[in-house]
């Protein structure tokens, strides 16, 4: 974990790291990664990964509309919207 890695993962995470906090974050992340590195002590070569304790594929339901006309309700909670759309800063010049 170094400055370059932290720059990459903060970009991927869309988070800005202030210069004054950078070293602390590098240290914390290094410690956490070192802590989880003990997983390497176990031989897992024959073990299938377990993503979910139920081990079931997510169930699907019939493609029937159950919630109708939510547009107004959903746009109301947006930080910025007009009658039809969420508004964001200009994307295309």
């Amino acid at each position: 974990m170094d400055k370059k890695t932290v720059t990459t993962i903060s970009y991927l995470s869309r988070l800005k790291i202030d210069n004054e906090n950078e070293q602390k974050i590098i240290n914390d992340l290094s410690n956490i990664i070192e802590f989880v590195d003990q997983l390497n002590d176990v031989d897992t070569s024959e073990i299938d990964p377990l993503a979910n304790p139920l081990e079931k594929t997510a169930k699907t339901r019939k493609d029937i509309v159950t919630a109708k006309n939510l547009k107004k309700k959903l746009l109301e909670v947006a930080p910025s919207a007009n009658e039809d759309y969420f508004l964001v800063p200009r994307v295309v010049e």
């Binding site: 993962i9 995470s13 869309r14 988070l15 997983l39 073990i47 990964p49 339901r61 930080p79």
Partner: protein, 470 residues
């Protein structure tokens, strides 16, 4: 009392708000729902109801969406969020007659074990004004322990119901993964998150759980197995039942008092006819590092939805969309949440995925296999819930790993998807501590049975902090 008309529903609710007001310093609530609650109580007074939990005041963790009532998840980024719909759990409880009196304080996005990461400030443990209540359901635990409400909802991703229950001297249960719908619960780590009740007794938890569980088509991981009446089995005899004692668990680092209290509880169960059986969970010590790969990975993915576009707060003065995302997230999230998002992005990124995320999922299977093997010959597993009683606010310093180890005993049940609960079983220097009971898959009834029988024989669950009525 209500059914005998000795006191009206409205008087009960008014008393709740008067207590909340009196104990404001505990900082248990983020948002109150006073006007609506009183209105609902008046409706119940005018047309009495036979619903199972009619008029019961409940504090809802501020992680459940509540239609029309602000839901912050303890975060600045949802500071102004008023959900357009309610979580299934909230609907289930309100359909059973409960009155949601307010939204309880919590660690931001449920990431914390002391309630110190909340944007809305620390919660105080009613057992001491300098003590943390535990977390992440710290507000819920504190509210029940202070007697403000008889029950509260919590959620548990790595111990967030059981650890605060232990530290505040109350009872709490995390059901089997999939028992309670996650629809409308703000997601932290979707393969671990599970909602459950927190109350004074196992019996009250059973009453709550009866209403909270449901099969829900809106949650693709919701179980459609039959849901038993959780009250039915509470008084079954424990004679001949087998308690698994984890021989790999190193208790030598624990306080002597913690070990003694734990062993006294085991003796209590033996005197009720239960047998102790040594079991081995060889990969248990890897549950915390496994969790701190799996949970941040899922969190970094789940929290990508907070971008300042569709709901929640948005930072001002940005020049383009990219800056809108970055500035909103950087200003909206606190340090612990950022730390976990960064770890998640790291373990999921190209080149590290196999080494960390896949590896952790493989170890997760080993942990689950250990439990599967153990439960072939036992009914429940018992451990202390926490390494010690409530610690002082600020005492874990700024070292995240020290805080992560708080959940040493609780995390494995989430990784394996098993039901587990904490019940008060002792006191250390006037601070409560809990016993953890882990059950087999879908077997909440048995752990509730053990808990209830213990509470029939002991009165630790009735101990209250000084100045608090039972």
């Amino acid at each position: 009392m209500i059914s005998h008309k000795e006191i009206s529903n409205k008087e009960v609710i008014q008393e709740v708000f008067s207590l909340i007001n009196q104990f404001q310093d505990l900082n248990t609530f983020i948002t109150l729902n006073e006007e609506n609650s009183i209105k609902k109580a008046e409706e119940l007074d005018n047309s009495p109801s036979n619903l199972p939990l009619a008029g019961i005041p409940i504090a809802q963790k501020d992680l459940f969406c509540t239609e029309g009532l602000r839901t912050t998840c303890g975060s600045n980024i949802l500071n102004n969020f008023i959900p357009p719909y309610s979580a299934t759990v909230i609907e289930n409880l309100e359909n059973a007659g409960c009155i949601s009196v307010g939204k309880t304080n919590m660690d931001e996005f449920a990431m914390g074990s002391s309630n110190e990461t909340s944007f809305f400030g620390n919660v105080i443990n009613p057992w001491g004004k300098d003590l943390v209540p535990g977390g992440s359901s710290g507000g819920a635990a504190s509210a029940v322990a202070a007697g403000l409400v008889p029950a509260a909802t919590g959620t548990d991703t790595g111990g967030s119901i059981r650890q605060p229950a232990s530290l505040c001297g109350i009872t709490g249960i995390k059901p089997t993964y999939g028992r309670v719908s996650r629809w409308g619960m703000i997601a932290f780590a979707s393969s671990l998150d599970q909602a459950g009740p927190m109350a004074r007794t196992a019996e009250d938890c059973a009453l709550m759980l009866n209403e909270m569980c449901s099969h829900d088509e809106k949650d693709t991981t919701s179980l459609d197995n039959a849901i038993p009446d959780f009250e039915e089995n509470l008084n079954s005899s424990l004679k001949g039942k087998k308690i698994g004692i984890v021989k790999d668990l190193d208790l030598s680092n624990l306080d002597n008092d913690v070990v003694e209290i734990y062993q006294n509880s085991l003796k209590e169960f033996e005197s009720m006819g239960a047998e102790l059986v040594d079991i081995s969970l060889p990969h248990l010590s890897l549950s915390v590092p496994t969790y701190y790969v799996v949970a941040p990975a899922e969190c970094s993915s789940n929290l990508s939805r907070f971008d300042g576009v569709k709901f929640g707060m948005r930072s001002e003065d940005v020049k383009d969309l990219e800056e809108l995302y970055v500035k909103t997230r950087s200003e909206g999230f606190g340090n612990e949440v950022k730390r976990r998002i960064l770890i998640g992005s790291y373990v999921l990124s190209a080149g590290y995925y196999d080494a960390y995320y896949k590896k952790a999922q493989q170890v997760r299977r080993l942990i689950k296999n250990d439990f599967d093997n153990a439960f072939k010959k036992i009914d429940v597993i018992m451990t202390p819930t926490t390494r010690g009683p409530a610690f002082k606010i600020g005492s874990k310093g700024d070292d995240p790993i020290q805080m992560y180890l708080e959940d040493l005993f609780t995390i494995s049940a989430n990784l394996a998807g098993l039901p587990a609960m904490s019940i008060p079983n002792g006191n250390i220097e006037n601070k409560p501590i809990g016993l953890q009971i882990i059950g087999n898959f879908l077997d909440e009834s048995t752990i509730l049975n053990f808990a209830h029988m213990f509470q029939n024989e002991t009165n630790w669950h009735m101990h209250t902090p000084e100045g608090i009525k039972q």
